[in-house]
């Protein structure tokens, strides 16, 4: 039986949070579950999408945008975040710029056993890097995205938003 959530995290909520926090660019590699968010972002005249070829690029492109006075967000899956370890270290953590990284939490579930190693290693990876994170699952969690922006700005560091709803409705 497929479980239906009462209030999914709508892509509109994510885009509204981006606009509210002055985001100018989303540096991203879309995955199969984020297509609807991608289409919605593409339609926003105030937002510039920067498609990357590999996730490690996204944190460095974001640094260049920050140096040039823009406000980027990185949007990648947890698998890509782990691929980006050295880029996160050298281009985000060591840079002294604020950066919100929105991470699709592949394999995460609130119920039962997490069997996907991508999910099992996501939070230990962030903890090892010393990156604080906020889990968002429903529309009601939307304010956590603004909290992440405020924290990144205050501490001039990367802060992660883990999108835990990816498997069952984040984009639809």
């Amino acid at each position: 039986m497929v479980h239906q959530q009462a209030a999914l995290l709508k892509p509109e909520t994510m885009v509204e949070e981006f606009q509210k926090n002055g985001v100018t660019h989303v540096v991203t590699i879309p995955d199969s579950e984020t297509n609807y968010l991608y289409e919605l972002m593409k339609d926003q005249p105030w937002l510039d999408l920067v498609p990357a070829s590999r996730e490690g690029e996204t944190f460095a492109i974001a640094l260049g945008l920050l140096v040039g006075g823009k406000t980027p967000v990185v949007l990648v899956q947890n698998t890509g975040m782990m691929e980006s370890g050295d880029s996160i270290r050298g281009m985000a953590l060591d840079s002294g710029f604020p950066l919100v990284m929105v991470i699709g939490y592949r394999g995460w579930t609130r119920r039962g056993v997490i069997s996907d190693s991508a999910a099992r290693y996501t939070e230990p990876f962030l903890n090892a890097m010393g990156i604080n994170y906020y889990l968002v699952e429903h529309d009601e969690d939307g304010e956590r995205i603004s909290i992440a922006f405020e924290e990144a700005k205050k501490n001039k560091c990367p802060v992660a938003v883990l999108v835990g709803d990816e498997y069952h409705g984040f984009n639809r």
């Binding site: 070829s53 996204t58 460095a60 260049g64 140096v67 040039g68 823009k70 880029s87 270290r89 060591d94």
Partner: protein, 195 residues
């Protein structure tokens, strides 16, 4: 092959107020040649990703020319970036590749397929507006002015004489350099950016 220092001397008169990012062992000569330190930027920090950071800057500042002197060892670590750059097509981006066919800073070991790769060909086929290859100073010097006048993204592959370092790290000559943060702060002031 030609010397990086000579290449930089030929480039400098045609800099045209560009923001310049120079990387690798060959890139260290730029600081001796540059006439505008405030617009010289360091964006190192993760090998293979300076190219990505330079792209980000070019996208953020479309009215400023951004010149990157990349190295082939770094580019090989992140070759997908040429598709990313071509996809965004920044008209203000000039991507010079200093190809010395080896990892000079670790003793001169050859990069994979060092002598047979056509980097300019790959950039052109990835979608750069134009791509050039030079293996001698005279030809480079005769073309660099015209290259800097055209719209990007442009790719310029250059065969550089390797300057191999093989002494223990602690015994190598250390020349004073400005740190990444200092170059960023200086450039942002130059561009009128605050915060």
């Amino acid at each position: 092959m030609f010397q990086a220092e000579d290449m930089f001397k030929a480039f400098e008169p045609h800099r045209d107020n560009s923001i310049v990012i120079a990387t690798g062992t060959s890139g260290r000569h730029w600081r001796d040649v540059s006439q505008d330190e405030a617009r010289d930027l360091s964006l190192g920090g993760a090998m293979g990703q300076t190219t990505s950071a330079a792209l980000g800057l070019a996208l953020a500042q479309p009215e400023e020319k951004v010149v990157l002197f990349d190295s082939e060892g770094a580019l090989l670590m992140n070759m997908g970036i040429i598709a990313t750059i071509a996809g965004k097509g920044p008209k203000n981006f000039y991507h010079f590749l200093m190809d010395n066919e080896c990892y000079a800073t670790t003793g001169g070991q050859p990069v994979p397929n060092a002598q047979d790769i056509n980097y300019a060909g790959m950039a052109k086929e990835a979608g750069y507006v134009a791509a050039y290859s030079f293996d001698n100073l005279e030809e480079f010097s005769n073309n660099v002015e015209q290259i800097m006048k055209q719209e990007g993204p442009v790719f310029i592959a250059m065969k550089m004489v390797p300057e191999i370092e093989n002494a223990p790290i602690g015994l190598r000559e250390r020349r004073p350099t400005r740190g990444r943060g200092e170059t960023i702060d200086t450039l942002r002031k130059e561009l009128g950016l605050t915060g």
